[in-house]
């Protein structure tokens, strides 16, 4: 039998290389060998996606590689998830996120990338889609017990709704319950500060880092 360390290293490599079939097969193998799934995720897969992020930041990897690896990560997690749920072990998740493109705005490619990267990094993501009513964000966050609300906007006209959503949270006495992250082409750190958001992600990876920093401090594994 392959040593556990070799298996974990192979999981990391599968993510870095964007090898979806291998990532899924290794997840199945981990289940078959009854490995500690927290360890599988924390020491096998997460280091892979972290390495991919580092390669992207250093300019060695480009967006397609980042996406391929995120797809592999999601595929592997999908294999593991039923077992994690059965064992009531979903605490490996880094937090629950409600994400969407804000009311009035129909752009969703950037939001999709962020949602995918969050999911690949162990967040439980509810993607509400595009042109999402402000009240729907709040309802979904309450229903799911979300930790984070991520708001995307591609236009200067629609980004005003990011401010409005934060005001609505205050009006309903819910502001302290959810961290609000904002992003999108016209959004800046200054805008995020001005409207009282908890953070601003310049790109998908920055959003993930911010979400990890702001999300609940559940221990992985």
């Amino acid at each position: 039998m392959e040593s556990k360390d070799r298996l974990l290293a192979a999981m990391t490599a599968a993510i870095v290389e964007g090898d979806r079939a291998a990532a899924e097969a290794l997840a199945a193998k981990a289940l078959a060998e009854s490995l500690d799934l927290h360890e599988v995720i924390e020491k096998g897969y997460i280091p892979g996606i972290q390495k991919v992020g580092a390669l992207w930041e250093s300019g060695e990897y480009f967006l397609p590689e980042l996406i391929s690896s995120a797809e592999c990560m999601k595929a592997a997690l999908a294999v593991l998830k039923p077992a994690l749920a059965a064992a009531r072990a979903e605490a490996f998740l880094r937090g629950k996120v409600v994400i969407g493109t804000i009311e009035g705005d129909i752009h969703d490619i950037g939001k999709n990338l962020v949602a995918s990267m969050l999911s690949a990094n162990g967040f439980d993501v509810l993607d509400l889609g595009a042109d999402v009513k402000l009240a729907r964000f709040i309802e979904a966050a309450e229903e799911t017990g979300a930790d984070l609300i991520c708001l995307s906007s591609l236009l200067t006209t629609t980004m005003l709704n990011q401010r409005r959503l934060i005001e609505m949270l205050k009006e309903r006495g819910l502001r302290g319950r959810f961290k609000v992250l904002v992003g999108g082409a016209p959004v800046t750190r200054k805008w995020a500060e001005d409207i009282g958001a908890d953070g601003y992600g310049e790109n998908a990876l920055a959003a993930v880092k911010l979400a990890v920093a702001l999300g609940p401090k559940r221990r992985l594994g």
Partner: protein, 200 residues
């Protein structure tokens, strides 16, 4: 409303290197993985089915505009809308929904390039019309560009029957299908007023 021209015949020439860069692979095809190359190849093959390019434009006198300062000094103005239709967008959404992110991104990049190529073919025709009238065409500007607010889409759509090519405007002044573009080209009497570079 002035006579409107509707165009349906467009041709596309695909440069996979360019599409690859649009997808975000700054190294171009040279650094593209085999799976990305395969996706590019497959996507190009689906373009004849997914693209339904259309354009509508009209040429009006300046006093038929809403008097916005961007029309100052123009003699005439061409207002138009181009689209590649909804099919590609539907396919992009399907790909994202099913977790095929890279495929979605590749298809979206082809769509963006298709809108640009559609517009350029319309633009060439409008430039020829301006020159045929003895006028000098400006560059192309879209609502949302500096000095011309996005809300001006409503005026543009009041002059162009975009529904004739299947394009609608939502409450936020965004076009549906998303892979559409709207524009104005001012026609000037004086060449010095045009910022477009034209052969003498």
């Amino acid at each position: 409303m002035n006579a409107q021209v509707v165009l349906k015949d467009f041709t596309f020439r695909w440069n996979q290197e360019k599409i690859c860069v649009r997808v975000g692979s700054r190294g171009g095809l040279r650094s593209a993985s085999p799976s990305l190359r395969e996706l590019l190849h497959q996507a190009e093959g689906t373009m004849p089915v997914l693209l339904r390019p259309r354009a509508a434009y009209t040429i009006i006198d300046r006093d038929e505009t809403n008097g916005h300062p961007v029309f100052d000094e123009a003699v005439k103005v061409a207002l138009g809308v181009v689209t590649i239709g909804p099919a590609l967008e539907t396919e992009v959404q399907r790909a994202f929904r099913e977790g095929d992110m890279l495929q979605g991104l590749v298809l979206d990049a082809f769509g963006s390039e298709a809108v640009v190529q559609t517009f350029r073919q319309v633009e060439g025709r409008i430039v020829d019309e301006a020159l045929g009238l003895g006028l000098w065409p400006s560059k192309r500007f879209s609502p949302g560009y500096k000095g011309w607010p996005l809300e001006e889409q409503r005026f543009l759509f009041s002059r162009v029957d975009a529904a004739a090519i299947g394009v609608d405007l939502n409450d936020s002044c965004m076009m549906i299908p998303r892979k559409s573009n709207s524009f104005r080209i001012n026609f000037y009497a004086e060449r010095s007023l045009s910022t477009r570079r034209l052969a003498s």
